[in-house]
């Protein structure tokens, strides 16, 4: 695959054997990062649809959405280069990195306080101390 890309790029430049290594590495890293992020986002969605319990669904959505979002935004930052756009994408990634686990934690805590029981089998859920039921 890489040999093919290299061959096509050298054919375009015909006589010169000069290869733009920085652009090649950036492009390949961007594509790999975007596809890894898409894999995580789709896996998280499948987990939310398929898993049996609310808390397991929360695990699937919370973990994979954060990592997938960061990877896709990293790929877009690599595409846009060093510009104003990449700064804005960095700010979007920072806010997602802060707010997505916070929202997941808030939803889990609210559900546990409201008395939604997890499927545990033989294990037992811990008590929340200092809570007035």
């Amino acid at each position: 695959m890489i040999d093919l890309i290299l061959a096509s790029s050298t054919e375009v430049k015909s006589a010169a054997i000069h290869i733009d290594w920085l652009s090649l590495i950036t492009t390949v890293a961007s594509v790999v990062s975007i596809f890894a992020g898409l894999f995580f986002v789709l896996a998280g969605t499948l987990g939310v649809l398929r898993l049996p319990d609310f808390y397991t669904r929360l695990h699937a959505a919370g973990m994979t959405d954060t990592l997938g979002a960061e990877l896709i935004l990293l790929g877009l930052i690599l595409q846009s280069g060093f510009s104003q756009m990449s700064l804005k994408l960095l700010i979007v990634g920072f806010f997602l990195f802060i707010t997505s686990p916070t929202a997941t934690h808030a939803v889990a805590h609210a559900a546990y306080k409201a008395g939604l029981k997890p499927k545990l089998g033989k294990y037992k859920a811990p008590e929340i101390d200092g809570d007035v039921k």
Binding site: T27, I34, V41, V48, R57, A61, A69, F95, A103, A111
Partner: protein
């Protein structure tokens, strides 16, 4: 060399749309309120990603601002809906003793 990148972005946008459509299933058929809320939160995150990718596809950098605004609004909406369904009101101060009293009042009613 990088002329195929818009097609990669278009494929990413398509799969994000597919993922959002699959998340609608949990949103419409979730057994509890918290399942629906989780689906709404995840849907919002995917909307932010779709806006970022799609403004690369159509080559207009305005979409990232809207995505930034949407990320903040999504978080605030999730917290507000959680607070509303916990206390049945939005004007409750979130200091511990006062909230406990307010919660007892809400339970006793």
């Amino acid at each position: 060399m990088a002329q195929f990148l818009p097609y990669i972005n278009l494929a990413a946008a398509f799969f994000l749309i597919v993922s959002m459509a699959m998340m609608l299933g949990r949103l419409l058929g979730g057994p509890t309120l918290y399942d629906r809320l989780l689906a709404v939160n995840s849907f919002g995150t995917k909307t932010v990603l779709f806006l970022c990718v799609f403004c690369f596809v159509i080559d207009r950098p305005d979409g990232v601002d809207i995505a930034l605004l949407y990320a903040l609004m999504n978080f605030i909406a999730t917290i507000a809906v959680l607070k509303f369904f916990n206390y049945r009101a939005l004007g409750v101060p979130l200091i511990k003793d006062q909230t406990r009293n307010a919660r007892r009042k809400g339970v006793s009613k």
